[in-house]
Symmetry: C3
Subunit: 259 residues, 3 copies
Amino acid sequence: MKILSIATASLSLLASSLGHAQGNASSPSTVTSADVRSVAPAMDKYATVVLEGEIWRRPDLSARDRSIVTVAAMIARNQVIEMPAQINRALDNGVKPSELSELITHLAFYSGWPNALQAVAITRPIYAKRRIGIDQLPAVSPQLLPIDVASEAQRATSVEENFGSVSRGVVKYTGEVLFQDLWLRPALAPRDRSLVTISALIATGQVAQLGAHLNRAMDNGLTKPQASEVLTHLAFYGGWPNVFTAMPIVKTVFEKRPG
Amino acid sequence: MKILSIATASLSLLASSLGHAQGNASSPSTVTSADVRSVAPAMDKYATVVLEGEIWRRPDLSARDRSIVTVAAMIARNQVIEMPAQINRALDNGVKPSELSELITHLAFYSGWPNALQAVAITRPIYAKRRIGIDQLPAVSPQLLPIDVASEAQRATSVEENFGSVSRGVVKYTGEVLFQDLWLRPALAPRDRSLVTISALIATGQVAQLGAHLNRAMDNGLTKPQASEVLTHLAFYGGWPNVFTAMPIVKTVFEKRPG
Amino acid sequence: MKILSIATASLSLLASSLGHAQGNASSPSTVTSADVRSVAPAMDKYATVVLEGEIWRRPDLSARDRSIVTVAAMIARNQVIEMPAQINRALDNGVKPSELSELITHLAFYSGWPNALQAVAITRPIYAKRRIGIDQLPAVSPQLLPIDVASEAQRATSVEENFGSVSRGVVKYTGEVLFQDLWLRPALAPRDRSLVTISALIATGQVAQLGAHLNRAMDNGLTKPQASEVLTHLAFYGGWPNVFTAMPIVKTVFEKRPG
């Protein structure tokens, strides 16, 4: 029998779901608690007692911020299974549709275009079901936030000096498209944009730019307790090894910053 | 025409499969040998002659252990296409349903919750088809294995000293949930739990904790020839670059251990 | 309601697509521009103006080479959503079916067997639709390209000295299967094989072997402007962080090579 695994796994569910085309915004999870219990009862206990009962309720990071961290990590890792549930949860937790739209656009650059397209494919029917139309989405070409001229000049000089001889294209688009355009789009606050960026970096074990981006995040208003708690949250959603890989870099940033 | 790629790829297969909802435990592979030959004939030759004909039969690692390594790598990398076939193969190779359940629970922490949920979604219909019920699954709260007090104290002190100032939450849950609970659950032997952990780390190129976890694995009974053979097996399932990235760390561990 | 996320996301599309089983080779994208606009209008602007309007047209890398880079990156990252569209685009851009077949086989080793099987599952219906039969695919056991005896002896000695004590299996198959067989298969030129390899390494943030493989690529005829442009292209398809992680290694290689 020739059949794709995803079809193998989902066919019985899918067959019983024809006619329920666009998911259920009130469903807490795509893989139900009963599903988990039927395979890994202890995992369901950890999910209920620790992940839902403790982690999502810890005080140093709001539920809204935790949703940003969670969705960013899932898009960065291209994990589709829980993405519909977590995107619905993000909207329920107060992440605005315009913010989610910018988050996906941001990750097109920070986790690669195909990951963002996957997120679009999953988000589109959710927006349709919630009747979120173009009027709730960010303008294509809005008035940009004011740029910090000195800081951007310093960044541009550093990238030019380091990598001008390596790739003119990367240098060009890093400036023109990322730091002089994308990062200045107003529908996602710079602090939240940084939260998306560091969440994606940590969740995928990419540490080379984590120090610079964590400093930028804290310059943009992310507090030290919040950054600490991002690590706790991502231990569960990105896996312990990625968080332990990130911690030495976070430690160095914390130690070097005043206060 | 708007259609998701996974649907594009699977629709004809899927259409012909309606009514065969839960896969076929005796199928050796989801993508058949004929499928591979119709796209990449040489790849099928390598699969038949080298991967099946040699790798799975090499003596230093049992077929049962190779299944643990393979399934752990696939869950850690969120590779769904062959997961049903390899989970069935694991059960056929003597991995107990209770062990597989613990393996998935373990990887919820070591490769992130969404990866484990994906594995649950794929494993659930396989367990249903094989009539594996709750009686064959691990207890939610079993009698834990005895803890090595001195070793755990040393670990806790080290993490506290290194990262106590970085994230109280990570330090707390690493102790309370991982090393004082998860690792002591009896349905997966510590040696197998270590095998799962190092397979996940190697297959995802995460080397920062590999040295510590390989030492733990060997303390837990994984032999040097077995660890060597995990690398050979993962070269095929995790890709050559990840294995070559891991080898310097493995070399250092081998050289520093007595015997 | 129990339903897999991929089903949630695609069911309405899927339902409307029954009977259109194997995709549409002329479709420019699986997720349409209208889909993207309905979620992230700015992302669609960047796709239209920058990615399609500029990146794919930049002179230092041909559209055919960009397709090789793109497909290799997607297979290495196991990104299924745009894979059908990009495989069709690769064939339209002049990548021969035999070359694509070898690319997939090559990545079975360089990104892991399951990733290549996923690519086979997606490519099979595309080949069927285009009536690409076995006569257009590479021979299973062709006359191999002549081996550079001195260079291969040097590689073999280096791997043996470094890792002979770590894994006999890895050393054996790296020689016998990879460098004395796979790399010598004639249906994909060594320069293109190198292009596939470095694209996969960069797109997955695997830098440990990037220096060696970039040197090999340039020995095989990849020019410095082409390598620079691979970075620009992959910034979009693999994400900015992976490219910035790769740039210091690329810089070192560029600086050490004559000319």
